[in-house]
């Protein structure tokens, strides 16, 4: 089992740092899957009927200038590790203005992910900071718990509005209520709503457009302005909330019950065509339907917010989706 990688480009390094910061905010421990062309950060919350799982995919060649790995065996050329996500993000904090970053798998009394950072200093001599992050190697028999999540079939799927607007709305709603009700239909209407004793607030978004249902969503709309706001075409985030959420839908022409509303991600072009788009990244966050009550939904709401927040930042950094060339 071997792994060694190097980042030289500052933009890639910053991007990698931000990804790791986001993961540190989402979960205490995460799994890292290393394969010859991809790095995956995986969260799979196995809490019964709830919890959040995440699948974050980094195309190796978009980040690393050198990348060598040797998996457990030739036919299973992969490595699965478990690490405390905060350790990684803390280690990368020192890498802010680094010249290079090297990551390798080492064994120093215990298995470690060694992050060595070459820093520039005022006098031309460079310094190297090394962090050893203790890890656990995940045995093969547990690998199948860490496979890419299958996204449940959606009954309603909708493009999200400008995330900046949406984030601000959700942020303010979070101040007032622990529960957020999400309603959407196939007419391109999306409502975000809170209901408390003090106040009822509903934000109506309309004309959002619905991506085609099913899996043939490969038609990017490049000349559509909305392409710059995220085009959500993977049905990933499942946020079915309460049973009483449907009165808006009943009044609309399409009487579909919402069980799954949103996809997280970006325009299919921006996400998939890694080489054209310098740093491509795929993140899926899955929320289970909220049956467990306030705690779960509060948690998922916070995660959702963090996600949206981070997504906005990444999107700007990416120049995403890629400029049409």
């Amino acid at each position: 089992m071997k792994f060694r990688a190097k980042i030289v480009d500052t933009a890639c390094l910053n991007h990698f740092t931000r990804v790791s910061n986001m993961i540190a905010k989402l979960a205490k421990t995460c799994s890292l899957r290393i394969s010859p062309d991809k790095l995956n950060f995986i969260l799979s919350d196995k809490v019964a009927s709830g919890g959040v799982s995440m699948w974050c995919e980094l195309e190796q060649e978009n980040f690393f200038s050198e990348f060598q790995m040797e998996g457990v065996s030739a036919e299973n050329n992969e490595i699965y590790l478990e690490l405390t996500s905060e350790n990684l993000s803390r280690a990368l904090k020192t890498a802010q203005n680094a010249r290079t970053l090297k990551i390798k798998l080492t064994n120093k009394h215990f298995p470690c992910l060694t992050v060595s950072i070459e820093l520039l200093s005022a006098s031309n001599s460079s310094r190297i900071v090394t962090h050893d992050i203790p890890i656990k190697v995940i045995p093969r028999k547990l690998w199948r718990d860490l496979q890419e999540p299958t996204i449940p079939a959606a009954e309603v799927s909708i493009y999200l509005p400008l995330l900046k607007t949406m984030r601000s709305v959700v942020e303010k709603m979070k101040n007032i209520s622990n529960h957020l009700i999400i309603e959407a239909n196939l007419n391109g209407q999306l409502n975000l709503k809170i209901e408390t004793e003090l106040v009822c607030v509903t934000t109506h978004f309309k004309d959002l457009g619905n991506p085609p249902l099913g899996h043939q969503m490969c038609q990017p709309i490049l000349d559509d302005k909305r392409c710059w706001s995220p085009q959500w075409n993977r049905m990933i985030e499942q946020m079915g909330f309460r049973e009483d959420q449907n009165h808006m839908l009943q009044s609309s022409r399409v009487g579909v019950r919402v069980s799954c509303i949103m996809g997280l991600g970006g325009g299919s072009v921006g996400m998939r065509q890694g080489p054209r788009n310098k740093c491509s990244l795929i993140i899926c966050v899955c929320f289970k339907a909220n049956i467990l009550g306030p705690f779960k939904s509060l948690f998922s709401l916070i995660l959702f917010l963090i996600f949206i927040y981070l997504f906005i930042r990444y999107r700007q950094r990416f120049h995403f989706p890629p400029k049409d060339r």
Partner: protein, 281 residues
């Protein structure tokens, strides 16, 4: 859509209807008095007055005159209700509190009358938010009986002169002592904290001093914890008028200019902490 039609039909049922192209002209003023959770609103045909009180000793009033609104209708003589100011401000800034250039949030505010919720319709870029904020039984507000004929000392300052002083007040001091006098030290702010006392003097002929009308020496102490919230208004304002009356009551009036150049006023009243022996009265 159905919302808007019902709105038109019931237009006459509303005792208060106000609309505004830029919600920030309204929300900034409210932020200046947001130091307690609840506020009492009074609407007359001249505008809306929002009052916040604390400890029966301090009262803040924000006046949003009818001219600030593009449409302003009050059906009754006066409309009064109590509302959760924190929630109201969250609702008003639901599309984000930092402005994006060229994008304004429009507001339409309707209130049907006693027992009904306050309805807010906010719109930005085609996105509509409807808020229904439950109103509460209005409470009687304090009457400070601060009459301009009883004013003994009055100073008008440019706010920047006071801003720094207020933001750096020694909070370990229990009181802020304000000295106003026709002779030296003219206008002095003093605190008495753990680290010692500090005095800040403003000369009468300072550039910051717009007007100085002091008739007699007055030394009054005010609870610093009660005055500190007025910093919010101070930060937004361009001028401040500081007045004391013969009983030592303090009135701070802040002139706040909004994004459209209109002027609004926010006013703080505060009781003196204790009687300080004075030369007269």
């Amino acid at each position: 859509m159905p919302l808007i039609t019902t709105q038109a039909e019931e237009e006459n049922d509303y005792s208060l209807v106000a609309s505004l192209d830029n919600v920030r002209n309204f929300s900034t003023i409210l932020k200046a008095i947001h130091f307690r959770e609840h506020a009492t609103c009074f609407a007359t045909k001249n505008g809306i007055k929002v009052t916040v009180e604390n400890a029966k000793c301090v009262q803040a009033n924000a006046f949003i005159q009818a001219g600030i609104f593009q449409e302003f209708k009050v059906q009754e003589e006066s409309v009064t209700f109590r509302i959760n100011l924190t929630v109201l401000l969250d609702c008003l800034s639901i599309f984000g509190s930092s402005p994006m250039p060229g994008i304004l949030t429009a507001l339409r505010m309707c209130y049907q009358g006693y027992g009904y919720p306050l309805m807010l319709f906010l719109e930005e870029g085609g996105v509509v938010t409807v808020c229904k904020i439950n109103t509460q039984e209005p409470e009687e507000t304090l009457d400070f009986d601060f009459c301009s004929t009883n004013v003994t000392n009055k100073i008008i300052l440019q706010s920047e002169g006071l801003r720094e002083a207020f933001s750096e007040l020694d909070m370990t001091s229990e009181v802020l002592q304000i000295t106003m006098s026709p002779d030296k030290p003219y206008f002095r702010l003093s605190t008495f904290g753990n680290a010692g006392s500090s005095h800040l003097d403003y000369p009468k002929d300072s550039d910051l001093m717009e007007s100085f009308q002091c008739n007699q020496t007055q030394v009054n102490r005010y609870k610093i914890s009660l005055l500190k919230p007025s910093t919010k208004a101070l930060v937004l304002s361009c001028k401040v008028s500081i007045r004391t009356d013969n009983r030592g009551f303090l009135s701070l009036q802040y002139m706040i200019r909004n994004e459209d150049g209109q002027v609004c006023f926010v006013e703080y009243y505060c009781c003196p902490d204790e009687e300080v022996p004075e030369s007269e009265s």
